[in-house]
Structures are given as C-alpha cells and as structure tokens.
C-alpha cells in the first residue's frame, strides 16, 4: 500500500509541476501586457509633454528654435526638435521614451494672421454686447468687453481687460481668456512690401476696381473708361496698394487678392469704399473655394451711400482697419438699406456706426442705414489673403499623436 501512496504523491507533484508553471506564466503575461501598455502610455505622455513645453516656449518667444535634448521626466525622457517649415510655419517633433518604449507627437504651428478673427477691436468704446448678439469664430479685444445679458460667442474669445461685469452671463462656447494681449501692428509695412515686391502700386489719387472673375476693370479717374486686365497680369502676387488715396471696389472675384489703401499724409485718404456687392466667384459655403479677399484700410472701410447699396450689400472679405472701422457713409441720413451680409472677418481699431435705431413700442427699429448679418469664413482659421497683417504669434494647425 505504501508504494501506491508514494505513486499518488508523485502524481500530485507531477501535476503541480506541470500546471503551476502554466498558471504562473499566464499571470506573468498578464502583468507584462499591462506593463507594456503602461509604458506606452507613459511614453506618449512624455512626447505630449515635450510638444506642449516647446509650443509654450514658442508662444513666449516666437523665434525660439533650440528644442530640447534628453529632458528627464518621471523616469523617462523626451527629445524635441523645432524647425522652420514651409512658409511661416514651425514643425515640432517630440519623441518620448521610457525604457524600450517610444512614442512621437508631431505638431505644425503657423503664424497667426489677423484674418483669423471673426471680430477684433482695439477700442470697444461704448459698445455693449447684449442678449441676441452672436459672434461666430474667434473674438478678441484689447479693451474690456461690456456685457449685458447673455450674448453668445461661438469661438474662442479673449479680452485683454476682461469683462464688465466680471464674471458676466455671456456664453463663451469656445472658452474665454482674459489678460491676453494681441495688439494691432505698428504699421502695414509687410503688406506694403508685398505690393512693392511683386504686386501693384498706385501712388496718389483714387482707384476704382471692379472684379469680373479673373479679370479686373480698373480706372484712376471717375469719368474714365475702365481698362480690363487679367488679374494675374494686374498683380503677380495678389497685392494692390494705393499709397495716398481711396480705393473703390465691387464685383465678383476669382482669385486671391489683398487691397491696401494708405493715407500717405492725405487726411481724407486711406479708405476703401465698397460701391456695390463684392463677392467670390466660388462661394466657400457651397463647395471648395480658393477665392480670398483682404480689404486693408489705414483708416475706414466705408459702404458707399448709393442706389446699389440701398437694398443690402454683400461683402465677402477679411476686413482690416488699422486706425478706423467698418462704417456706412451717411449712416444717420441714408435710407433704411437692408443688411450688411458680411462673410469673412472684421478687425478694426474701433467699432463704427452703420445705422441708426430708435425704439418703436419698446422694439429697436432701424431708421437709417444697415442691420448686420456677419458670418465667419471658416477658411480664415488657417488661410489668409496675400501679405495680410499677422499678429506675431503662432497657432497650432495640426497636432498628430
């Protein structure tokens, strides 16, 4: 009987010897599986940290390109290279590593153009944003936002001097940051240089432009017959500058153009007059469109008081007023003129009036000028008219993890 007992014990030992290593092996694989995942996540987080650190450094110092080498964090490390890329872009490549695990994050930053703002103002003045106001796209003011009720800001919003009251009941769907300073450029030299280098420059007097798809009818005296020129011959790089005068514009544009009206020491100059609708041949809201227009005035962009503009006006452009704003000529004496249908963005030193309202039975009713229908052109998040002023900062345009 004893030998059978020994055999049973032996069988037990064999069984344990075979099964227990399998059980341990399964347990080990389970732990290894978890550890591999954990290390991969750690590597990823390190790569993200490196990219964030580099992006922050570029935000603080736009010319910074040193990158980071073997930065030790939390038992791992990251290496970051920062290089110039394409035109006015920066490429950040961040590699995070923990033991044998690696992960990479690639970020492309692009110089931020003022055209990315749906609304920008240096001075808000007496304007109060009220219930019913809606701004689509990015918003910034160098002033304080006066808020009454619940206006809605769909994009990212920032105000150097915060809101009044603070906090307000405004609805910031894209978030709100106060204390951010993004000032207007001191001058318009880059755009001017663009016109000099490869665009078209007019010295003095007024300039009339009527875009007819990829042609332009132009003249320099109101009574002259227009000259018809292919747009590509008229301006090679799309920039047109008038050094001391006012530009009158209308038509349908098939191309990429920036107009710059400078004051040039003439007090009545430096304005762009919109004589009639100015729109794109290919509407970006109904399909792909590369048509893009920038209207840059050293002073105001003015909707002309004429018959063509008395039944609404359509403006498809990014508007930039260095010292003035978008306004309507004779805004307080012209007839009720429908709506300003703006597709684009509006950057202005100070908001200007486009109409007059009065209260009729407690309801605000327009008595002269225009109502406003401003919509943001989404392409301006990352696209801009030629040689459009830029903020000096950079924005993330792609983040690939």
């Amino acid at each position: 009987m004893g030998k059978y007992s020994i055999m049973l014990v032996f069988a037990l030992v064999v069984m344990l010897g075979v099964i227990l290593p399998n059980v341990h092996s399964l347990g080990n694989r389970s732990v290894e599986n978890f550890l591999n995942y954990s290390m991969q996540i750690q590597s990823h987080n390190l790569a993200v940290s490196g990219a964030n650190a580099a992006a922050t450094q570029i935000y603080l110092t736009p010319e910074w390109r040193e990158g980071y080498s073997e930065v030790s964090v939390n038992g791992g490390r990251y290496n970051v290279s920062v290089t110039d890329y394409d035109t006015n872009k920066i490429r950040i490549l961040s590699v995070g590593g923990l033991e044998d695990s690696r992960d990479t994050v690639l970020v492309i930053l692009q110089g931020t153009s003022f055209s990315r703002y749906a609304y920008y103002s240096k001075v808000e003045g007496a304007i109060t944003w009220i219930t019913g106001d809606t701004v689509w796209g990015p918003f910034h003011t160098q002033d304080q936002m006066k808020i009454s009720g619940t206006p809605v800001f769909k994009g990212k919003a920032s105000a150097k001097n915060g809101t009044n009251p603070d906090p307000s009941l405004a609805i910031f769907e894209g978030g709100f940051v106060k204390g951010v300073s993004i000032d207007l450029p001191l001058n318009l030299d880059p755009t001017e240089q663009g016109a000099i280098d490869g665009g078209r420059v007019f010295a003095t007097g007024d300039l009339w432009l009527n875009f007819v798809n990829n042609n332009v009818e132009w003249k320099t005296a109101v009574g002259d017959p227009p000259t018809v020129t292919a747009l590509s011959d008229f301006t090679a790089n799309g920039t047109i500058m008038l050094n001391a005068g006012n530009i009158h514009v209308q038509g349908v544009l098939d191309g990429r153009v920036t107009l710059l009206a400078k004051q040039g020491g003439v007090s009545s100059a430096g304005n762009i007059y919109i004589d009639d609708d100015i729109r794109y041949t290919h509407d970006p809201r109904t399909g792909a469109s590369s048509n893009i227009l920038g209207l840059i005035a050293e002073n105001d962009v003015i909707i002309t008081d004429n018959a063509a503009n008395n039944s609404s006006v359509t403006i498809q452009a990014a508007i930039f007023c260095h010292k003035g704003g978008l306004t309507a000529q004779n805004h307080n004496s012209r007839p009720v003129a429908g709506k300003i249908n703006l597709l684009g963005g509006l950057v202005q030193y100070q908001r200007r009036p486009v109409g007059i309202f009065s209260s009729v039975g407690g309801i605000p009713t327009i008595t002269s000028g225009f109502l406003k229908n401003y919509r943001y052109d989404d392409r301006f998040y990352i696209d801009a008219p030629p040689f459009y002023p830029w903020t000096g900062g950079y924005q993330v345009v792609t983040w690939m993890e």
Partner: protein
C-alpha cells in the same frame, strides 16, 4: 499480528483516500485557476488592443495632414451619442478627410457566445463595411463635456460644443467558469483631441 496488519491496511487506505481527495480537489482548483487566469489574460489583452486602437483614433479627432481640408476642426465631430460616435479625421495620414464611426452592435449579433451581455463594437471608415473590433464587450459608454467641463446630454444636439470626451469600456469573457465571467474595464478620463479645439 493480524490486528496490526489490519490496522496497516486501514491506515494506508485512509491516507490514500486523503491523498486522492487532495489530488481531486487540487485538480479542480487548478482547472479553475487555469481557466479563469487564461480568461483574464485573454480579456485583458483584448482590452489593451481595443483601447490602443480607440486612443489612436480619438486623439486624431479633427486631424488632417492637409490642414486646409478641416479648416474648422470644431465641426469635425459629426455625431455624438451614448454608444456611438462619428467624426472627421485622417485615418491613414494621407491628407484626405475620412469619416470614422464607432458604434455598438445589438446583443443578438453575438448570440453564439454564452455571455448574454456581450456585444460587438463596430469601427467603420467612410463607406466601407463595418469592421467588428472585438467580442466580449459589455460596455461602451461615451460622455461629452463642454468648454466649462459641464456634461452634455446625449445624443449631443450641437457637437461643436464638445471639448472633451470620456469613454468607459468593459470587456467580459465570452464563457463563464461556473457562473463567473472574467472582466476588465478601462476609462479614458477627459480625452481632449488637440485638433478639436486647437484653433
């Protein structure tokens, strides 16, 4: 002498009986351990594989190599439900915008397994047929938050308001040991695609 022999036999039989009981019990316990540990490993490996795919896809929400093709990434989230989501991305990083969808299948789709709760998670790219990601999924729960970290009711009426996403996943074994299913759970806390709100 006879009594001693009888005692020897009885004693041996008793010890042998104990040993047989121990072996039998050990065998049963080891089978259980082997089965459940094996199930645990399979479930955990499936979870990690699934999670890696989901994390990679969701981090690229709103990404396109040609950034002009998704100029406004806040519009990249197309549909946001409790157990389904659809968004624009660049799956193969070729500069073309793809529409990627995840959705949970019906319980009946996995009637072949013994687990009465498990479902298939489908991944669909553009117009291609849905690809089953795994079996054994019993929870795929997506929550959405706005810019102020407020939870948004599902299905989300205005997907452009979504700034962060939270995902809960639970996998179970397709067959139980006795009546117990192995399981593994994962929660992505506040996943925020940088492309979604970067501009």
């Amino acid at each position: 002498m006879g009594n001693i022999t009888l005692l020897d036999i009885l004693g041996s039989a008793l010890i042998a009986g104990f040993l047989l009981m121990i072996i039998s019990h050990s065998n049963a316990r080891m089978n259980e351990t082997l089965f459940t540990t094996g199930n645990d490993l399979v479930v955990q490996e499936e979870l990690v594989t699934l999670v890696q795919t989901i994390e990679e896809d969701f981090r690229r929400l709103g990404y396109c190599r040609d950034q002009m093709k998704i100029a406004d990434p806040s519009k990249a989230l197309l549909q946001a439900g409790a157990a389904s989501i659809s968004f624009q991305t660049d799956v193969d990083n070729d500069g073309n915008v793809d529409t990627l969808s995840y959705y949970l299948g019906a319980v009946a789709d996995l009637a072949v397994t013994r687990n009465p709760r498990d479902r298939i998670l489908y991944r669909k790219v553009n117009g291609s047929g849905p690809m089953p990601m795994n079996i054994g999924l019993t929870l795929f729960d997506v929550h959405y938050f706005d810019v102020n970290n407020n939870s948004i009711a599902r299905p989300v009426a205005s997907p452009s308001a979504v700034h962060q996403i939270e995902i809960d996943i639970r996998l179970e074994s397709t067959a139980p040991y006795d009546t117990t299913y192995s399981f593994a759970a994962w929660r992505q806390l506040r996943l925020r695609s940088r492309n979604l709100t970067g501009r």
